[in-house]
């Protein structure tokens, strides 16, 4: 992990002090609510349906056990609403049918961050100080600025990696932190970077998507995509550069963001993202960026060119942990031992297959701790669970974990010979669901139970589908599939990129759900990033599990066996087209009068 310098540490503490100063001026009435809002947002503090929400930054998803323990402490000691707030929340949500609003919880997000739902604003400055004690913060996790930079969950350990993206992500994190010119952009601005052949970071769906590549001379650079995004108008980013030398990335991003800051729309919030500018202006935008970049190089002297020495300094933080050298037995002995355990216990065999991924170091594995299980919302973790995750990271993964795009935790430095011991511990903790990349490993936002923007609840839909699909053999038979659920068009649950997407909509004060099919986040399984297509008018919450069942039934009836392998859902859908799936989904509607169904 990146090792904070004294400067980095001081900076986070100063930011916490600055936030306290702002909070106090707001409390004294010296700044209005409207003036305070962007300041608290840029520290991660939203005010939601009933209570504030805090979003803590986990830069490129990398988190230490010490940081997990502080997150646990915050969940335990601060994630509790005042009595009247909780009473109002539970009474109101009960009218919708939600009878459980967990407190003392944290939540992993699709952008690798961590959120809390109940911390009173009056305690917010104390929480920021506590976070700063382990180099954490909420800087730019919200607001119209450059957000936390996300990356591949297997950054630095992936077998298919051109180069480790973490040093670049860290240098860009520093560059974007409190950038004075880009603090009030037309809209939020998200960057994702990957160094692997497979895109596990949904780069096409970001305002800027970066992929490390090598040119013919073997030099490292970035493929630069600009103008991706979800929301009301889903658009996949446009390639501006197939190869930009790695050390020029910040000079180039300065041009990308400056042109956006100057010309992005500010009259309509729904047309303010950079994707709209890139789409509307096309080549004109690209020419403007290239001209601005030329000026930054030739006139300004390319001030943010990354010197080799600085790259080396940062990269030195990301050397594999010393633990990785430990070997007790040969790879063959380990393999034989694992196979023996797998023969003994089919659940362990399944877990090896689903939750364990190969590693750059053949002695090691990347292991997914699943936070997708019955009775808890996708990506939710209690205070105790966070503490247990910290213990597992210490015992099995050199004190490090990753928050991944799918709202799970990944342990990146697990010895193959420790896999069985880890499985036993993970199973005891409830983190060993063998559903990674299967239907119940779904993505879902907090939805209408918490979020002020939501049109409908997400968690009960996720819960209903989870309950319906508990049979492991059935899940295996359905195979790898991305199910993504968003409670509103802001698309925090990435419904556009789901093979099956579910979007909450509000009609006449009731909750309805639009279903899309065929979306892709850009991973190898899903194919090039693209938005799913709507199957028809929206469904009631009660209809959704039946619709999913009908769609999956169509897949099971029409899939083919290719080279002895069952075709995946997404491949069948692409091969036969959306129509049979659409027909099946629409046939799953309950009988109702025409005007209600309209």
């Amino acid at each position: 992990m990146y090792q904070y310098t004294e400067f980095d540490r001081q900076f986070v503490h100063q930011r916490a002090a600055q936030y306290r100063d702002q909070l106090e001026r707001w409390q004294k009435g010296k700044i209005s609510e409207d003036e305070f809002r962007p300041l608290r947002l840029q520290n991660g503090w939203y005010v939601q349906r009933y209570a504030p929400m805090l979003r803590v930054a986990v830069p490129y998803g990398e988190i230490s056990s010490a940081q997990l323990r502080v997150l646990a402490k915050i969940a335990r000691e601060y994630d509790a609403p005042e009595a009247d707030v909780y009473k109002k929340a539970t009474e109101t949500q009960a009218q919708w049918g939600t009878h459980k609003l967990p407190t003392h919880y944290a939540h992993f997000t699709t952008r690798q961050n961590v959120q809390y739902n109940w911390i009173p604003l009056s305690k917010s400055a104390d929480v920021m100080e506590l976070l700063a004690s382990v180099n954490m913060h909420g800087i730019q996790t919200s607001g119209n600025c450059i957000r936390n930079i996300t990356s591949d969950e297997r950054a630095g350990i992936a077998v298919d990696e051109v180069a480790d993206p973490r040093p670049y992500a860290e240098i860009m994190r520093q560059w974007s932190t409190l950038h004075p010119e880009f603090a009030f952009l037309p809209r939020k601005f998200k960057i994702a970077v990957t160094g692997a052949a497979e895109d596990r970071a949904a780069t096409g769906w970001h305002d800027v998507g970066l992929r490390l590549v090598k040119n013919d001379a073997g030099e490292i650079g970035f493929q630069v995509r600009v103008g991706g995004g979800m929301g009301r108008t889903p658009i996949v980013g446009t390639v501006l550069r197939e190869f930009l030398p790695w050390n020029q990335i910040m000079n180039y991003l300065e041009a990308v963001v400056r042109v956006y800051n100057r010309y992005g729309r500010r009259d309509n919030m729904y047309k303010a993202r950079i994707k709209i500018l890139v789409k509307a202006e096309g080549q004109v935008y690209i020419d403007d960026v290239e001209e601005e970049y030329r000026q930054i190089l030739e006139h300004d002297g390319a001030p943010h060119t990354i010197p080799q020495a600085e790259f080396d300094r940062v990269a030195a933080s990301f050397v594999p942990p010393a633990l990785a050298d430990r070997v007790y037995q040969s790879a063959e002995e380990t393999e034989a031992e694992l196979q023996a355990h797998a023969a003994d216990d089919v659940l362990f065999a399944r877990w090896l297959q689903r939750n364990v991924a190969p590693h750059k170091n053949p002695l090691l594995r990347a292991v997914t701790l699943s936070f997708k299980r019955r009775l808890q919302a996708p990506g939710d973790a209690s205070a105790d669970q966070l503490d247990i995750a910290a213990r597992l990271a210490d015992r099995f993964s050199a004190g490090e974990a990753r928050v991944n795009h799918d709202q799970n935790l990944v342990l990146p430095w697990v010895h193959a010979e420790d896999l069985h011991a880890l499985w036993l511990a993970a199973r005891e903790a409830g983190f060993a669901s063998t559903n990674v990349h299967l239907l119940t490993d779904m993505i879902a936002c907090p939805g209408g139970d918490f979020c002020a923007l939501a049109n409908a609840r997400s968690i009960p839909v996720a819960e209903a589908i989870t309950e319906r699909y508990q049979d492991l053999d059935e899940l295996d038979d359905i195979g790898e599939i991305d199910l993504h659920i968003s409670g509103c068009i802001n698309s925090c649950g990435h419904h556009h990129s789901g093979h099956i997407g579910i979007l909450g909509v509000d009609k006449d004060g009731k909750e309805w759900y639009q279903v899309t099919l065929g979306g892709s986040d850009g991973s190898d399984l899903s194919g090039p990033a693209q938005a799913g297509k709507v199957v028809g008018p929206s469904f009631s919450a009660a209809e959704v599990p039946g619709v999913i069942e009908a769609v999956l039934g169509t897949y099971r009836d029409t899939r083919e066996i290719v080279d002895g392998k069952r075709e995946n859902f997404i491949d069948t859908l692409r091969r036969v087209g959306i129509d049979p799936f659409k027909t099946a989904a629409n046939a799953a509607r309950f009988a109702r009068t025409e005007e209600v169904a309209a």
């Binding site: 600055q18 100063d21 009030f184 100057r262």
Partner: protein, 131 residues
């Protein structure tokens, strides 16, 4: 960081239509100014709302790209918490919106000694110039 930004009250801000003062609308392109910058002493850049960040880029381009040496002044919805950003992007004076307590300004400058990225004033990023 050391504060060089002059913080003015509305009364201290003179706007008498002097030909040496240029008012630049917040959607204007500073690189397309047709007057000779050498005849200009001051350029006023406007913040219609403090959340509209276009004037930061305008100030940067005037100072860094065009090398304007005169006063660049922030007017409009100018609040305490944006003053440091203004100074860093090239503003040299700022007219606080009416009713804003100027006594809260100085400690915002005192808090951070330096920043990660270069800006219009201190052009080198922290990784080059560790000072």
């Amino acid at each position: 960081m050391k504060r060089n930004l002059r913080i003015l009250s509305a009364e201290e801000h003179v706007d008498d239509g002097s030909p040496s003062v240029l008012q630049l609308a917040n959607d204007a392109d500073p690189l397309a100014i047709e007057v000779c910058l050498q005849d200009i002493e001051r350029i006023d850049l406007n913040f219609p709302k403090f959340t509209d960040g276009r004037a930061y880029s305008q100030a940067f381009l005037l100072r860094r790209r065009l090398g304007f040496k005169g006063d660049i002044r922030a007017t409009g919805d100018v609040l305490i918490d944006q003053l440091v950003q203004m100074e860093r992007t090239g503003f040299s004076s700022a007219v606080l919106r009416e009713g804003v307590d100027a006594s809260d300004a100085q400690r915002q400058f005192d808090r951070f000694a330096t920043y990660y990225q270069g800006d219009a004033v201190k052009t080198a990023p922290h990784f080059i110039d560790k000072g």
